[in-house]
Amino acid sequence: MSGRKIGDVILDLQNISLRFGGVKALTNISFDVREHEIRAIIGPNGAGKSSMLNVINGVYHPQEGRINFHGEERRRMEPHMAAKQGISRTFQNIALFKGMSVLDNVMTGRITKMKANFLEQAIRIGRAGREEIEHRKKVEEVIDFLEIQHIRKTPVGRLPYGLQKRVELARALAAEPTMLLLDEPMAGMNVEEKQDMCRFILDVNDQFGTTIVLIEHDMGVVMDISDRVVVLDYGKKIGDGTPDEVRNNQEVISAYLGVAH
């Protein structure tokens, strides 16, 4: 990774606590994300990883704590505002339009960039047509980048799981994000699909300089591709650092392997 330079902190989370009624999902968690880095969040089931991602994304609003994105204190906001700020994401359980083609699904990733209004788009007048060509061009670049040309016109529902995951990544990339949130991008994949996905994540990071925050179960993958890792357990942060530091952290080892009683 010689060409990529990790920059300053762009996302800073401080003392985040999130509760659902009486259930504490996250307790007093602080960590930051630097520009251009690959930041992983790991932890056992129910550790609060997806909740953390949803906080960053604006889906959940923590009761306590502060979020600073690009030097600005974030107030309560909705996911679409996060998207406008350049944050894209993929989901743990694929959330694509199953009946629509790959191309159309990826096109939906451009929605925040479209200026033409609903009526103009519906009857395709004025700037709508011009815009579509422009967006399609961008989408084609993403399709080329992720090597999914052969399924361009295939309905997503007919694709195998691994490819659907890739289409989801394509949709997220089509929005030209500065920060990409990936929720278990490799879950349920076979070894070859995992390798492909790893390569794409590294390529995205390298080629476009996109900052990547990812949740992953597969420790091997995480340790191989991330710059820094946060470890959560029962809603608490138990480790934070480079893969090597985390690997040798006693608390992390116990959380993963269990401790002798």
């Binding site: 084609e140 052969h150 080629q207």
Partner: protein, 652 residues
Amino acid sequence: MPELGSSRAMDTFPRLLFYHAQTRGEKTAMREKDLGIWQSWSWSDVAEHVRAVACGLAEMGFQRGDNLAIVGDNRPRLYMTMAAVQCLGGVPVPLYQDAVANEMLFVLQDAGIRFALVEDQEQVDKLLELKDQLPRLEHIVYDDARGMRHYNQPFIHDIEELMAMGRIHNQNHPGFLDGEVAKGAAGDIGVMLYTSGTTGKPKGVCLTHHAFISAAKGGAEFDRLTADEDILSYLPMAWVGDHLFSFAQAMVTGFTINCPESGETVMTDLREIGPTYYFAPPRVFENLLTQVMIRMEDASPLKQKMFHFFMKVARRSGAEILDGKPVPFADRLLYALGNLFVFGPLKNVLGMSRIRVAYTAGAAIGPDLFRFYRSIGINLKQLYGQTETCAYVCLQPDGEIKFDSVGKPAPGVEVKIADNGEILVKGPMLLKEYYKRPDATAESINAEGYFMTGDAGFFDDEGHLKIIDRAKDVGRLANGAMFAPNYIENKLKFFQHIKEAVVFGANRETVTAFINIDIGAVGNWAERRGIAYSGYTDLTARQEVYGLIQECVEQVNAELVAEGMLADSQVHRFLILHKELDPDDDELTRTRKVRRGFVAEKYAVLIDALYSGKQTQFIETQVKFEDGRTGKVAADLQIRDAKTFPVLRQAA
């Protein structure tokens, strides 16, 4: 098509290229699908690019006589580089792009490669892996810049950079490239293609401009190809067929080549382009047909009925209509209807609506498969040739199609059958030599200048060449008649009920055969007839099954007797083996070829029985199970006599 032969100006590929650029520069030479859109290059665009690449290479020190390796999928700039190298009097050496680094090593070393043009990062990485073992390799140029940002090695270049350099060079030395092109001669080596090397090390086959231009021109005239043809270039560039169709013939006739978006999109791209001229190995045609059949099974009953009804019409008269033979009026009418409802839409789905000529070669194509395509109106034909002959020896003329022949000698080609049955060819398309292998060259070209193909074959009564076997496998019967076991076995195996066959007859009076039934097909057949059986061995012993196989054998006999030369090879007696021939028992190779010698030894008692007139023979064989244990299979095998036909001796 430019008048070749007549003018000396058109005798090398660079001259042809610049001729097209000058006389019909605005016409489309190449297309490539990029970012979802077909991009076109006109002949003048191509000429400009070739000039830039050639001058760039010259600037980097490429010398006349140097070899340049080309590794990658079919990309316009890879084809252009071939022409650019030829402009400078160098030799392009295309390599198979899916070979792993170590497989490439031999060719790169053998050809003394100094310059390599590769498609993308993947190929660059392979070459970098080998760099230490390739002291002569000086420059690597890549076509696709993706992922190449961090490669700072001074010897790795972007093709854009190379072309920019070339354009400046061209401005400073305006007459340089034309001068280089003028130095070229028809007898220069135009390309070097490596043989696959299934036996021993690969050999570089040196082919001259003259050879490929003659082959391309002969083929183009034979099939009346025009400058308006469209071809999909999707087969490996290192393969002689692609070089003939996508490079040589495109240059000679000036038609358009189309490069697919990626290997996986070929079927979609085929449909979008709708080529008029098409080549595919039998395997591709088979896969397409299987897909069609599977999809038909899911179609509504009405559609299925319609499909089967019109396919019956097509089988009866489709091929005859295509050949221009007389067909009853009612059938013609039905066929036209079928074309409207079934064949037309089907061809459209396959991307074959516009095909005028399609070729297949490389392996034996099953008669049913071949007839299917011809019957729906696709002019599918076979050709015969090898790397050493620019894939140009025999072609099937329109209207004279036989599924089991490879056609007549192509224009300008002389084909002769040696005394041992080996096919010998001579003509302008022959190789000049094997690269740095005078020994191999001397071995393969005889004193009279014939290339020895190593295949055995014969001409039938109408002058069509039939390939029967590799020459070394062909033997003689006791009466001296030719005996080609593979040929007979292939005929038997074309029946769906026969999986494997082994025939014997070398130095014997008559021919006999072991048959392996196809348990899937025969089992299905038995089920539909309510024939009960307990397993493989039991099924093979059923009288009904013997009857079924006997019909197949007798049909083969009828075909053999019609072929004159092989009439003596009719199968007189046969038996059905009680177990499947299996690689685990060493009876087949891992690639499922029969190990004839081993089988003959193992089952010697059965062969004796076949030749001694016995009606049954007891046999016990050891079999190896997949977990390594062994067991025994025993059976009383019946031996049947098959009907043979009287051999008509031709009056000499």
